[in-house]
Symmetry: C2
Subunit: 504 residues, 2 copies
């Protein structure tokens, strides 16, 4: 039998200049000889091979003279993965059988995943072999029956192993993370500035938003370049002791971004995934000591102190497997921190605190010095119990602001956050006291207004819990870059009950 | 606030002639004014509106002169849903918020779904509002924590309600279904011919393959047209008493096909989904009495008699909610039925039985008369205990073959099943007795060879359990339409252990 006796036929690659995020796409003529000989049909997964490189792509078929039967048109993600020139010869065939899916099927039916299973899954995900259906099945199955401690350790290790791993020429490398769920809680730029100003090494890599209207990387990007390559990052850390980079360019735990896109669409974010996501990034970034801020509140991600303690315990257990020293802080998660929700609006809050403006949000300052204090103590830069005072002094003296400017300039230059084209108030329905603020709905509102894709978009809060407010006084301002998004957010603000509840 | 004071801008529709199965796709220029004003980014879900019609589509963006900034290119699914002409004016905006996803999130976290939840989910699925991520999350969540009886009833009702529902001018309308998992078990055409020949009304609608290499509709399509519209189906049933149609054209339980595509990719097929799928189709098709064939065997879909009894009980409980009389048969599921696996190869087995050929597969005949006997008894055409004898007589007398030809001709004409371009034997590795046949791996093999997309493709078995076989004697023949698929199947047959196990 010699089904492969002749070399498989090649096609000429055409760059379609089609944007589809991470998704590689191939388009072939329905009457293409390769479609016939391979038995390919629309929406099947194909392997596109160019020399030593290959990429798995989603196939569509076309009946049009835009393409000739001997061509295959490729999306940008496919084009870049193959690194080819216009007209290059490529081969297209059935994608290989996705063996790691068997583990997910067993997991759906209640069996636990081994280290080998998770390693195979994460490798296939990073290699682009997982369709949205398979990715969603993995994340849903591990949300429905949550990952246990062993699986979480295995997943963390698999996520570290599949990416780069940084090492720093320092015995202590500090890091911090907030488990999120609290809009506007943008302490990271402040903590890095304070820690670095006190001589600690804090090479911070942050992610973009998962289900929130802004991640630290989104916020920082409105203040300075964050897409640093590793050489730039090393230079910034060597000279300034700290940096504020987006982790994505570093390929640290690269599976995380792929999981995050699907979690964002489903709006689920499970404990095991969260732990693996947080710890894999910290460990891959070379941290030896990390402070985890866990805001607790009825509409925060962690809703009770019991849940917070459980999460802290699981985080510490998992971290211990990797020799990472961890300290968890439980903070107030009953309302947003600062006034801005959205990349640029949060950046403005950060700047006000750094400059020690009299009008700076006190709550953001308080939290930043609390977290920074823990980092200073854990990293050995402050005595036990003295961290918060030292952190506050570093803000008050201007040392943190000076260090922040140096870091931003080393990253490519401090810049002004953008301002939105459309600003619209949402008014109090009647006079009274603010008795409830729904963090989840505020996040939703900021996202509908365009955050984080539009950095200037979001929500600018005018009230806090307990404030007295008059009828028709603005409770918040919506900021949007487009009319469509403004209308979309306004529609939601009208429909959503108790976004901000004013007692009578 | 007048974000919508001016009418939203329109775009000119371009037919891309792009095939992507059910998936509607829209392509717009990255610099298109609507992308800017609506804040649209690649891979977002958009609503495309043309007059009274609208369709939700997956958006890609392009930087190329193939499209101008005032145009939107649409895939075939989008084009047909909108029913427009080239250059028609359409609007594109953000897809509405998918509210039913909240139910799926609750379900992932262990809460049960109400009738309202399931109704909303199924309506959104059928309206094309579910992405692959959302569809996969629903099916995975209801596999990880299986649907309970109440949820199964609600899902069944939701799946019926969202589609057409047939009614027949007859007090008794019989139907049958095999829960699958047994390659080649193609009794349906035989049962319909026998039932109709004995005066019963059996307007059979069948589905295409889910995870198997052929569904009854795939097999029947090699013998006669099965894409019947409702008028044709009624005419066939009025004159002949029975028909063998593909259910898809009838929009009976239209959510099923959308679920099936994702279940096929994941290769999961859960009990609750199975019950809702089977019963919603039977009830929507107007059946009053149905026989369910449940093959039991270690590599069949149902692996033990306990599991079969549980399934039968849940099927009967659910059917009772809808006034459907059910009889479940437990049959031998230890090995494939007949010799062919794949649409055309199974059709040839069916023809041999109908013609009462001396070489016809005895096991297929035995099963067909067993199931047909139960149908005859349940439908009142045979006394209790006399069904099987009457069914066998109907085959032996030529009455079934006569009726089958009449039905096929009424559907548009009896035709010859196609034959494959490539046929390749797989030989016995040594002499001995056949001690094990793996149904699942055989199905996989037939699918890799191209079944059911290539109707002629599949597996033609040459041995049964217990047969003595000599070294290098063919155990089966692979049939494929393309070299690529043949190579793919051969590769699997070499790698797969114990596809057919020959004892020594």
């Amino acid at each position: 039998m010699n089904a492969r006796i002749s070399p498989p036929p090649t096609l000429r690659a055409v760059r379609m200049r089609l944007h589809a995020q991470h998704q590689p796409i191939a388009v072939m003529r329905t009457d293409c000889h390769v479609c016939h000989s391979e038995g390919l049909s629309p929406r099947s997964q194909v392997l596109v091979i160019a020399g030593e490189r290959q990429v798995q792509a989603l196939l569509y078929q076309i009946d049009s003279d835009l393409l000739s039967p001997g061509q295959v048109a490729l999306s940008e993600a496919a084009w870049h993965a193959l690194d080819i020139q216009e007209g290059a010869q490529v081969q297209v065939r059935h994608a290989p059988i996705l063996r790691s899916l068997a583990g997910i099927r067993r997991r759906i039916h209640g069996q636990r995943l081994s280290a080998q299973d998770l390693d195979a899954i994460v490798r296939d995900v990073v290699a682009g072999r997982y369709t949205d259906v398979a990715l969603s099945a993995f994340l849903t199955a591990t949300a429905a029956l949550p990952l246990d401690t062993e699986e979480t350790v295995h997943l963390t290790r698999a996520m570290i192993d599949v990416g780069e791993r940084l090492s720093w020429d320092a015995p202590v490398v500090v890091d911090k993370h907030c488990v999120g769920g609290l809009p506007g809680n943008r302490t990271t730029p402040l903590v890095v500035a304070i820690a670095a100003a006190n001589g600690l090494v804090m090479p911070k890599t942050s992610s973009r938003a998962i289900t929130s209207p802004a991640g630290t990387a989104d916020t920082m990007e409105t203040l300075a370049p964050v897409n640093l390559d590793l050489d730039t990052m090393r230079r910034v850390v060597e000279t300034e002791g700290g940096c504020l980079a987006w982790g994505g360019t570093m390929a640290l735990s690269p599976a995380d971004d792929l999981f995050v896109r699907v979690e964002r669409e489903l709006d689920i974010d499970t404990e095991g995934q969260l732990i693996a996501s947080v710890l894999s990034k910290k460990i891959a970034a070379g941290a030896t000591h990390a402070v985890i801020d866990i805001p607790v509140g009825p509409t925060a991600k962690v809703r009770s102190h019991d849940a917070a303690h459980l999460l802290a315990q699981r985080l510490s257990e998992t971290a211990a497997h990797f020799g990472l020293a961890l300290r968890c802080l439980f903070t107030d998660g009953t309302q947003p921190v600062g006034r801005g929700i959205g990349p640029a609006l949060e950046a403005m809050d950060v700047l006000a605190v750094l400059k020690h403006d009299p009008g700076a949000p006190q709550d953001l300052l308080d939290r930043a010095v609390l977290v920074a204090g823990a980092v200073l103590e854990l990293g050995g830069a402050a005595a036990a119990g003295d961290g918060t005072r030292l952190a506050l002094d570093t803000i008050a003296s201007g040392g943190a602001w000076d260090k922040f400017q140096r870091i931003c300039n080393a990253q490519g230059g401090l810049r002004e956050p953008p301002r939105a084209a459309f600003i619209e108030p949402i008014l109090a329905p009647h006079s009274g006291r603010v008795v409830h603020i729904d963090n989840r709905k505020l996040s939703r509102l900021a996202k509908l207004a365009g955050a984080p894709e539009s950095p200037a978009a979001g929500v600018h809060l005018q009230v806090r819990l307990g404030d007295e407010i008059a009828k028709d006084q603005p409770m918040l301002f919506l900021h949007a870059q487009t009319r469509g998004e403004l209308a979309y957010a306004l529609e939601f603000s009208r429909e959503a009950e108790s976004l901000i509840l004013v007692g009578s």
